[in-house]
Symmetry: C2
Subunit: 479 residues, 2 copies
């Protein structure tokens, strides 16, 4: 048996028991059944509750998981903490391969809770694998599984694997990342990690053919040496992006009441990143951007960029921000400058890099010619496009030459035949309630860019930080 | 005559000449007339063009500004650079108080352009005041004036003054800031600043009763000593927020081709900030956030914060991010913890600060009680609210207790009767094209928060950076 086969019943269960199932709408034991149905789970569902009605949502209720006369792959457990040990005994007796324990009130609450948690681990005996307790469990579109509050997450299979010690964050990240166009192979909220932990999931996702990019939100690590080894083994195979929570004093205080973990020290995590190539990010938005950029960017992309803006201040800001994040903006050589001079008006433009092409409403044909000159320049690896109108002019008013679609098409077309990477800054332009039409257009442009392998971010700062991270990673891989 | 009276004809002109007016739709000399009409300019309009048709957009065309038989307060000049000196002579002869020169092709293009620019300054002779050249000019709702591409900017008067060496940035900032609810007294894009410069506008806005917060995008400063003196005089009177472009080597290269300025050194600007209290920001988003927070935050707000989140990871992230930006998250004293324990379930929550109140769908009445406990805690200055659902649950699905409006109302109600500052993180949740309903709700919540004096930002990082800036400013004021 393959060492990863034991995860199959967890991610692709043929049957799921909901232990603590309820007919009351507000209870998790009811909602979880509904959510699975709404999400489209295709396997068998078995509500379990010793005091429950004969049927819940049309499914026969069992008094114990032991009473189910069919094999059960996986169970969602939402009974009070004190009842969990008994349920675990039942699951072991029934021979379940895995469970997720939604219930909280274990290690994160102190000494008594820790005792209870140790007890369930002992009872599971290493044969029944546990996700949690104090977690949301698994979102795996291929397996038809989702979180309790994740009924409307995308049901298409994808290539991003995410593991998160926080349930809320697993959900928020799934929302935000799928908003960018990303889709998931597996998202695991694993809470207190009493049994299966970050190293298990990292190792599994590392070997999982569906998963191309791995991201993690981690508060504490159970076995530092193993986590290091697993991450180190993935260097050059799959990017591993880590948001480590609790590196400050106050953050560590919050970690202990959240998942009962020890937060660890900043220096340790910096060394971890240096030695394993794992990419550390500092906040939620950086996590989203990094995953998008790692998923989409050309492999091995370098840090020499051309910046194309419609207006002089774009170039100034880009120069400052690129220097800050470690991207290189080489001055264009004479032959490139000359070619651009032939295309652009002599006044109100700049041909040195950053390139100011003057009007942000440049005609598509001219825009293509300008970009073609840059793509032929062999000293750059990526082209950053900022403040060239790709959407929104209609709603914001007052500008001529509205061919936004034409400019978007040019970028998409050119990305097909180049090994350089286009990076598009997709600013919101306005967040006014009466300008929502701009946002609608912007999102549709982002969808087009995504499906053409182009990366984007809502600000120059976010775009450059993410690009620099990808460049650093590939430099580390080449070391 | 008041020393600032000379600015009245520029910001509140009774009559505007458009020199270089055109009947051709695509030309700036046509668009500017249209934009003023669309924006609702109430004064007289005089198209000027020696070769123009008898009428443009229904207004009689004059061959020269000298031929206009009425007084002219202000002119928008969009003739080729080589023709500008002649036009300036005409304007001086006619006795105009001020002009804006839209045309570029001066100092920013090199030696010849600099000569031409010096020539127009000489011809203006200090009597005719010039904005520009190479600029978008003035957006001043009270005066009925707007930029060339600014027909749909808000026409209500406001209290933010913004000066920008970049025209594009002046427009982008006006869009972005007005999207948050902010309104402007004056926005000035002043380009090469051949005559009126950043010090003139800063001094004017400092004395302007309509202006409460001043922001600036600056590439180079004409007279450093004067700018320092003017900014220093405003300390404690009006916040001055500066985004200084071109502090890197590449940024400085872009500055010289954009506005022909000398960018200056980072250390000089840091000293400037320390000594004048002017607030330096590092990118466009920080500029927007800083202006919003300075406009809205309680005067003198301090850096001790309570963080209220629905879920444990919020507190962890907030702890880390607050420490990074210099906000203080004091541990709650026993009596506060006790009061919260009486309100919250014992499991899945934390009462130490950061506060995890468990479900992000907390009922409004309970939410109010929790916040009331925190507002009564005298060791904090602000309350940061993150990942408590205030919008979007309907569209994202799967969660019970959807009373988002109720929670928003609680925050708004409580802000009225406290001197502590509420800071709300208004994340986008999803940028998927089919989740636009979430964004619509989010914007409507932001509008309500804005009009109740509450601050918000789309991420915890942005919110805390902006709050920390405001706190530092008031500490500097109290020094």
């Amino acid at each position: 048996m393959d060492r990863y086969d034991r995860f199959s019943p967890i991610f692709y269960p043929r049957s799921v028991a909901v232990i603590g199932a309820s007919a009351e709408e507000g209870r998790p034991g009811h909602q979880f059944l509904r959510v699975l149905l709404e999400f489209g789970f295709k396997g068998e569902l078995y509500p379990v509750n010793p005091d429950g009605p004969a049927e819940i949502l049309g499914f026969k209720t069992y008094r114990s998981v032991r009473d189910i006369p069919y094999p059960v792959d996986f169970a969602f457990i939402t009974v009070p903490a004190a009842s969990v040990p008994g349920v675990i005994e039942d699951c072991v007796a029934k021979g379940l391969p895995g469970v997720e324990i939604f219930t909280s009130g274990f290690r994160e609450t102190g000494k008594e809770g820790k005792k209870l948690e140790d007890e369930i681990v002992r009872l599971a005996g290493g044969k029944l694998r546990i996700i949690g307790p104090n977690c949301f469990g698994v979102y795996c579109p291929r397996g038809g599984l989702t979180f309790l509050p994740g009924a409307r997450l995308p049901s298409e299979n994808g290539d991003i694997g995410f593991i998160s010690q926080s349930g809320g964050l697993a959900l928020y990240f799934a929302w935000a990342a799928s908003g960018c166009g990303l889709r998931f192979s597996k998202v695991v909220s694993y809470g207190n990690a009493c049994d299966l932990n970050e190293s298990d999931f990292l190792e599994y996702l590392g070997a999982d053919d569906d998963t191309k990019v791995i991201a993690a939100y981690i508060e504490g690590v159970k076995d530092g040496n193993r986590f290091f080894r697993v991450a180190r083994n993935l260097l050059g195979k799959k990017p591993v992006i880590v948001w480590k929570g609790g590196l400050s004093q106050v953050g560590a205080r919050a970690v202990s009441s959240h998942t009962g973990s020890l937060a660890g020290e900043r220096a340790v995590w910096k060394a971890f990143s240096r030695q394993t190539g794992a990419v550390l990010v500092d906040d939620f938005e950086e996590l989203v951007d990094a995953v998008l950029f790692f998923r989409q960017c050309r492999q091995g992309v370098g840090r020499r960029v051309a910046v194309v803006g419609g207006g002089g201040a774009v170039g100034v800001a880009a120069g400052d921000i690129c220097e800050r994040v470690g991207l290189v903006v080489p001055q264009a050589p004479e032959h490139i400058q000359q070619k651009l001079k032939e295309l652009l008006p002599p006044v109100g433009t700049s041909v040195r890099n950053p390139f100011d092409i003057g009007a942000p409403v440049v005609p598509p044909l001219l825009f293509r010619k300008i970009l073609e000159v840059l793509l032929a320049w062999d000293e750059i690896d990526a082209v950053i496009i900022d403040r060239i109108y790709l959407y929104g002019i209609g709603a914001l008013g007052g500008m001529p030459g509205r061919d936004c679609e034409g400019r978007v098409e040019v970028i998409i077309e050119l990305q097909k035949n180049t090994d350089k990477q286009f990076v598009v800054v997709t600013e919101e332009l306005s967040t006014a309630a009466d300008k929502i039409a701009v946002e609608t257009e912007r999102r549709s442009v982002q969808e087009k860019l995504f499906s053409s392998g182009i990366v984007f971010a809502p600000s120059l700062s976010r775009a450059t930080v993410a690009l620099a991270r990808v460049c650093s990673y590939y430099e580390r891989v080449r070391m």
